[in-house]
């Protein structure tokens, strides 16, 4: 059998997850000296780590080529998929929010509103629940630009401190959802490697801040 593969979301979440691994007493030397390698062993354990972009973590888990993944709830909400979502690590905390130009009344009037976002599915579900028809435009980069340039009435985006919004004259109207890092597991791996995976999760939960 191949090692149990843990897919980590590259970037900030990768760093905070590795910090947890260290607290658990795992040997993270390979992870810290990774160079450009994307698959890294954790010596002395049945695990190896795979580094991937958030949405790809979900894809690799769904197809069962990775077994355990650490990924933000934002990505899970946007991409969905069938896997087990077994733990909330509470790290990487932020929120989805609806924001528009400061001082504007987003909900006023009957005109159709346009929403710019990197998360079209999250946005659609949010407005569907409200029974509100909106036009959604997918933006890839700095979403804050869209209302400033007059493309959209508001944005749905991840907000951590709110500084970017403030500096660009935008303000939060409403929270859409809270976001934290989650542990997801392939449905077959969970059954075939139950002991190893449950122990890993229990150890992880023990060192949570």
């Amino acid at each position: 059998m191949r090692p149990i593969r843990i897919a980590l979301t590259k970037g900030r979440l990768e760093k905070s997850t590795i910090a947890l691994f260290k607290k658990m007493g795992l040997d993270c030397t390979e992870l810290e000296n990774k160079g450009r390698r994307l698959i890294l062993p954790i010596p002395g354990t049945p695990f190896e780590v795979v580094l991937a972009k958030a949405a790809d973590v979900i894809t690799y888990i769904e197809h069962g080529v990775c077994d355990v993944g650490v990924v933000g709830k934002d990505t899970i909400m946007e991409y969905g998929g069938s896997f087990f979502e077994i733990a909330d690590l509470g790290i990487g905390r932020c929120r989805f929010a609806l924001a528009c130009k400061k001082g504007e009344d987003f909900y006023s009037g009957y005109a159709e509103k346009t929403i710019a976002t990197k998360y079209p599915n999250v946005s659609r579900q949010f407005f569907e629940k409200k029974g509100m028809d909106v036009r959604i435009v997918k933006i890839e980069g700095s979403v804050e630009l869209a209302p400033l340039l007059g493309l959209s009435d508001a944005i749905v985006d991840i907000v951590e401190t709110g500084t970017t919004l403030r500096e660009n004259g935008l303000a939060v109207i409403e929270d859409v959802a809270q976001v934290t890092a989650r542990v997801i597991v392939n449905t077959v791996s969970m059954k075939l490697s139950k002991v190893e995976i449950e122990k890993l999760i229990a150890d992880l939960e023990r060192v949570l801040p």
Partner: protein
């Protein structure tokens, strides 16, 4: 040339040589087993009316089906599932048959998957249905047959996991949730989303809510039952649990202990299944390769209520595993039969003779012995049979004459 002339639609593919060969192998292994166990084959149409799959409480979501319309504008679908057409058959043409009835099928099902998901829209499924039989004997027959099916397909490290839909249903009905919340809870339990299950149930007091929180974590081997029994004592879920345990012990008695596990948190399609549910897993495939369960209310949607249980095997997934574990079966014939001019008929007779003896042989269409030898070497055919008026000469293709 037209834009789509050279490609196949996303989610479909051409099966070439060894892929086709291992798929046929898996199909043969399965239907040989099913036939030997008294199941008879049925073939249902690839095209059916949408209505067949839209029965109340059991419908397949419309967005997952390939839809077309007939000349009257009625909506048709490419068969998304084989059990519902069989339920239709059971309530109509088979209604006067002696029950129980054992049927098997081996046919393609179609589903529309999310684009770029890498999934197949076209999947070959082989499955069995036992109609008109309720109770432990029927459930035992079908769950042990499921294990045998994966065994026969030479899957070494496979797992059959059993659960009982009645456990969730009994616990949740005592909470008196409205449909939307109940569905949300079901989805969380299905996804083993422990934190969300806890959050949702925190607003409810009572023993049942406490038990439901533990439910998705109750999976594995023997060890599951003592805790489950303690937790479920005094609830309406006690009875389905004790039934599940009896079945589990019987399967152990049948020598399947090492490959059968339980998961009390299997809650998929709670409106469809009515009792035992089970799934099969093999190494190297990220989803279940076998799934089934008892569905006592489905046939009643088409006619007279009839208890039934069945399962389907994803033949494509099993075939891929065979290919991965055992390598590609050889597809080259052992011998190339070449005729000297004028001896073509004698060569065809020689070919037939070889085939009867169990050799695989191919008739050479080349005009010269040299060309035939060249072809045999290029293709990797071992032996050449040279048919002349003076008799048949066998040589290794490498050495030649």
């Amino acid at each position: 040339m037209l834009k789509n002339q050279l490609i196949t639609p996303e989610g479909t593919k051409d099966y070439l040589f060894e892929e086709a060969a291992v798929r046929e192998e898996a199909e043969t292994l399965l239907h040989t087993l099913f036939k030997a166990r008294g199941f008879s084959e049925v073939i249902t149409p690839g095209l059916e009316f949408l209505d067949v799959f839209s029965v109340k409480g059991h419908s397949i979501p419309i967005e997952y089906m390939y839809k077309l319309s007939d000349y009257k504008g009625r909506l048709m679908v490419l068969r998304p599932d084989s059990t519902m057409p069989i339920a239709r058959l059971c309530a109509t043409r088979l209604r006067a048959e002696q029950m129980p009835l054992r049927l098997f099928y081996n046919q393609t099902v179609y589903s529309q998957n999310r684009t770029l998901s890498g999934r197949s829209d076209e999947v070959k499924q082989a499955g069995v249905e036992l109609l008109g039989a309720a109770g432990l004997r029927a459930d035992l027959e079908m769950t042990s047959l499921a294990a045998q099916a994966l065994q026969r397909c030479r899957q070494k490290n496979f797992r059959i996991e059993i659960g009982h839909i009645g456990i969730f249903n009994a616990l949740v009905s005592s909470l008196g949730l409205d449909d939307a919340v109940r569905e949300q809870l079901r989805l969380y339990i299905e996804a083993k989303n422990y934190p969300a299950v806890n959050d949702l149930l925190d607003t409810f007091g009572g023993h049942e809510a406490k038990v439901l929180k533990r439910l998705p974590r109750l999976f594995g081997g023997d060890g599951v039952f003592p805790e489950a029994e303690m937790l479920l004592k005094g609830t309406d879920a006690e009875e389905p649990l004790s039934y599940l345990r009896t079945l589990y012990l019987k399967l152990n008695e049948a020598g399947l202990g090492s490959c059968v596990t339980v998961d009390l948190g299997i809650v998929n399609r709670t409106d469809y299944y009515t009792g035992i549910v089970f799934k099969g897993y093999i190494e190297g495939h990220g989803e279940e390769v076998l799934f089934g369960g008892r569905y006592d209310r489905l046939i009643g949607r088409y006619g007279e209520e009839t208890p039934a249980i069945g399962f389907a095997v994803n033949v494509d997934a099993v075939a891929r595993a065979l290919l991965r574990n055992e390598g590609a079966p050889s597809r080259m014939p052992q011998t190339l039969v070449f005729a000297e001019t004028g001896c073509e008929i004698a060569a065809l007779h020689e070919l037939d003779r070889m085939i009867i003896q169990g050799t695989t042989a191919e008739f050479a269409t080349m005009e010269t012995l040299e060309d035939a030898l060249h072809y045999a070497r290029a293709k990797g055919i071992d032996t050449i049979a040279y048919v002349t008026v003076n008799g048949v000469f066998l040589r290794s293709a490498k050495e030649g004459f």
